[in-house]
Subunit: 181 residues, 2 copies
């Protein structure tokens, strides 16, 4: 199954991390928390979820993962103040591997300067920032444009989860077909 | 002296509200808290400061104030999801009356679409958003461009306070000179 980097910091939106992470693990995927400091414990803004940072972003490499998941809340705004976190996200989008973005996550994509000409959705407060970054904002529960899958808010989580699982299944099918040939 | 609207919501950066507000009141200016709901109590993100909303932004009019102060933290991102808060800020900038912006405050100015061609500073995480909005980001403790005075972070507060007091003194001098003639 897939190895999924979750880039996360203090103040993430609890359900936007917890629910997709749970569904991914239940489907047999491996979650690796990437953050600013290895070994740190980061809390959700509602204090109902915590995550342990498995790997510092300075040590993380896109080659080690199959997909990237960026939860929302205040976490993306903290992470984008760190040039190495921004660079990791940029490398991921440029690699063509799947990137899952929800709520405030496009803030990291804006700083990575990868949104020009892309269709994406996100939290309502950042619509103008998304447009100013050259992207087309789409007001739907899930938007898929090449390797970026995005949703707006906690209400969209069921649709978000179903789409990211489907994307990972497609990856798996491609891998299995390649092994057979 | 001047009547200053402070537009504020939950999760403001405590010191970025508290210290300028204190200095303004000590200088004899009147602070009126404008927010999403009249009578609400909003807290700073560090829970060391609180503010009581005196007036809902739906009832607020630029004509009733001499200047606008936008503290940082998560407050600007909450406020900019509200079209009437954005409209109030836009009217203020367009009026030519002084607007004091610190840290994440330019997020509100971005949504008000008033930054094209302006020089401004702000918190490091939003530099790309500021540039994408058509403004020139200036990495200095205080930046003054026409009616907008801006600073980056809590460390800049002494310089920010001194510049906004000077601006209000200039307003007062102009008013007194007009009364004499």
């Amino acid at each position: 199954m897939s190895r999924i980097a979750v880039i996360i910091d203090e103040g993430f939106e609890d359900s936007e991390y917890q629910k997709p992470a749970q569904v991914l693990e239940e489907a047999g995927h491996q979650i690796i928390h990437v953050g600013l400091k290895e070994g740190a414990q980061v809390s959700g803004k509602n204090k109902s979820a915590q995550a342990h940072i498995d790997e510092a972003v300075t040590d993380a490499s896109v080659e080690d993962f199959d997909a990237l998941f960026i939860p929302g809340g205040m976490s993306p705004d903290h992470l984008r103040a760190d040039p190495q976190a921004v660079s990791f996200v940029k490398d991921f989008v440029d690699s063509g591997k799947p990137v899952f973005s929800i709520c405030h996550a496009p803030q990291l994509l804006i700083n990575a300067q990868v949104l020009e000409g892309r269709k994406i959705t996100g939290w309502k407060s950042i619509v103008q920032d998304i447009k100013n970054a050259g992207a087309e904002f789409v007001d739907k529960e899930v938007v898929e444009d090449r390797n970026i899958i995005s949703s707006r808010c906690p209400d969209d989580i069921p649709a978000f989860n179903s789409r990211i699982l489907k994307k990972l299944q497609q990856l798996e099918n491609t891998r299995q077909a390649a092994e057979k040939t």
